[in-house]
């Protein structure tokens, strides 16, 4: 029987809204704590379920049963609504992301995205900007000047880092000439070139801006525990705090999904045009997508456990003084590469080789650098300590 297309759309929306928060709560929270623990030579939580799988449920139950506090002179309506404002944009952004190629269900081809807007990328940038409201209003409505400061700082950070994010996506736009995310994946398929290669610089800038967008380490000063206040979510407890938490982690998922779609080929298996590796195509596209997104979430966790955090003024300086000029220069480079060989991809391929070569050279320079560091350290420790004598 032929179900109307609206049915599938509604079903997909329901599935997204039902599963993504569940995945966040159960999988990502546990994964973050376990993986961070493993990187810190300790086991993470492993008591609650087998290997700790029910830890998310325990956290959820705890948050849901906590007392819901609203500060005395806070604006009740805004206090109530700001967590909602933090979550809804993140969930809405998932609507345009293509999770896989269209699949056959019964007699119909059902696409694995809720809507293929022809302004998909623009929609995503716009929606994530609305998420900033949740943070500002959350900080303001708590009637606590420190929360307000934390919220304002967080909002300033988010707004500043949207510019390099947008600019790095513009350089990808030049390669595809379309804002639709499905079209971007199709272009990567047809040109046999994942856009991460010509857009290596763009990818790094995008991912760094993405980490800053979601207030994660090393850019998590506004909500750090060792600072004077806990930022905009100080006065929130229980379900409202759970919503802020959910919004942040869903934002992580959204940034990772965009990175995968735009730079890493979306649902495409690697080397899709090489016949010898066609067996990789047996794995469904949606699974490839999930694997790639999982890798990026792992990168988020990896960053969190490794780096110290930037001070706020240094953070802003990084965004405005470094990322924006570099992304602008990158746009110029990509445009030049495209114009060299219009209608063909050779220019872009050449650019990919240049970027790849620079990357490799950076690695070789690291060997040199490490040798210099070792020489300096030996010189500083005293003449008697040569090699590994101690």
């Amino acid at each position: 029987m032929n179900l109307p297309p609206e049915f599938w759309t509604y079903l997909k929306v329901v599935l997204l809204v039902a599963t993504v928060p569940a995945i966040v709560g159960f999988v990502i929270v546990l994964a973050e704590r376990r993986i961070m623990g493993f990187m810190q030579v300790r086991l993470g939580p492993n008591r609650v379920g087998p290997q700790g799988t029910l830890q998310g449920l325990a956290d959820l139950l705890k948050l849901v049963t906590k007392e819901d506090i609203t500060p005395a002179r806070a604006e009740r309506a805004v206090h109530f609504l700001s967590p909602v404002l933090a979550v809804i944009p993140a969930l809405t952004a998932l609507a345009v992301i293509p999770f896989g190629p269209p699949i056959r269900i019964g007699k119909q081809m059902v696409p694995l995205w809720v809507a293929d807007l022809n302004i998909g990328l623009l929609f995503l940038l716009a929606i994530t900007s609305i998420g900033v409201y949740g943070i500002i209003l959350g900080g303001w409505s708590s009637n606590n000047k420190y929360s307000l400061l934390g919220g304002l700082r967080s909002a300033a950070q988010l707004v500043s880092y949207e510019v390099p994010m947008g600019l790095s996506l513009v350089s990808v736009l030049l390669m595809t000439r379309s804002l639709s995310l499905v079209e971007i994946v199709r272009r990567q398929e047809s040109t046999h070139l994942w856009f991460v290669f010509p857009g290596l610089v763009a990818f790094f800038i995008y991912f760094v801006s993405g980490v800053a967008e979601t207030n994660r380490n090393p850019f998590d000063l506004p909500e750090a525990e060792s600072e004077l206040v806990s930022g905009f979510n100080t006065e929130y407890s229980g379900v409202k705090f759970a919503f802020f938490f959910l919004g942040e982690y869903t934002g992580m998922i959204v940034i990772s999904c965009i990175a995968v779609t735009v730079f890493f080929g979306g649902w495409l298996p690697p080397f899709s045009h090489v016949p010898a590796l066609a067996f990789l195509g047996f794995v469904p596209g949606a699974v490839w997508f999930l694997l790639k997104v999982a890798f990026f979430i792992f990168c988020y966790i990896w960053f969190r456990s490794t780096f110290p955090r930037y001070r706020f003024d240094q953070l802003m300086a990084l965004g405005w003084k470094w990322l924006i000029p570099i992304s602008l220069a990158n746009i110029l480079a990509v445009a030049f590469a495209i114009l060299l060989t219009p209608r063909r991809t050779n220019g872009l391929v050449a650019l990919s080789w240049i970027y790849g070569g620079l990357f490799v050279m950076m690695f070789l320079l690291s060997k040199l650098r490490r040798a210099l560091v070792r020489r300096d350290r030996l010189a500083a420790s005293g003449p008697a300590e040569a090699g590994a004598e101690v």
């Binding site: 493993f38 086991l43 990896w302 780096f307 690291s366 650098r369 210099l372």
Partner: protein, 160 residues
């Protein structure tokens, strides 16, 4: 070194170095000891729960004198024993565990060989839900740990 500073600025290698350290540790052996299923074995000299041997004790009260916090309370009186000689009999030997700092000065002061009061019992699990009764050890609890239900002996170490 100017070369190194220049290299530092244009490469991101310090960040990748840091990532590689944590990445390596992801696969190393984890050091967590999952208490209470796994426990660490205390060493032989570990200063833990008290134990008193009433027969060895000569009631010299040196341990009470040496204690920096004065938490040992000893009372004794003289009694004629079977041979008609004066013998000291313990009335009270209390240790207030709430305030003890486990410094072992009482054990060091004890002149008998082997010691009559000792802490090297490898026992450290003495938690209780309420403090005053459970953590005030009278002579029964000191000599026979069965009377102190909150003490979980690791091994009951008798000084031989």
């Amino acid at each position: 070194m100017a070369l190194k500073r220049w290299l530092d600025r244009i490469t991101l290698l310090d960040l990748f170095d840091g990532l590689s350290v944590t990445g390596r540790h992801l696969f190393k052996k984890k050091v967590t000891i999952e208490y209470p299923e796994q426990k660490k074995l205390p060493s032989d000299r570990f200063r833990g729960m008290f134990r008193l041997d009433e027969e060895r004790c000569i009631k010299c009260t040196l341990c009470a004198i040496e204690c920096p916090i004065n938490i040992i309370y000893i009372d004794w009186h003289n009694e004629k024993n079977a041979e008609g000689k004066n013998e000291k009999v313990l009335d009270r030997f209390d240790v207030d565990l709430k305030r003890c700092m486990f410094c072992q000065l009482c054990e060091e002061a004890c002149p008998t060989v082997p010691k009559s009061i000792w802490l090297t019992t490898k026992t450290y699990e003495m938690a209780a839900y309420e403090r005053n009764e459970a953590l005030y050890l009278d002579i029964r609890k000191l000599t026979d740990w069965n009377a102190a239900p909150n003490v979980k002996p690791f091994t009951v170490v008798e000084r031989g």
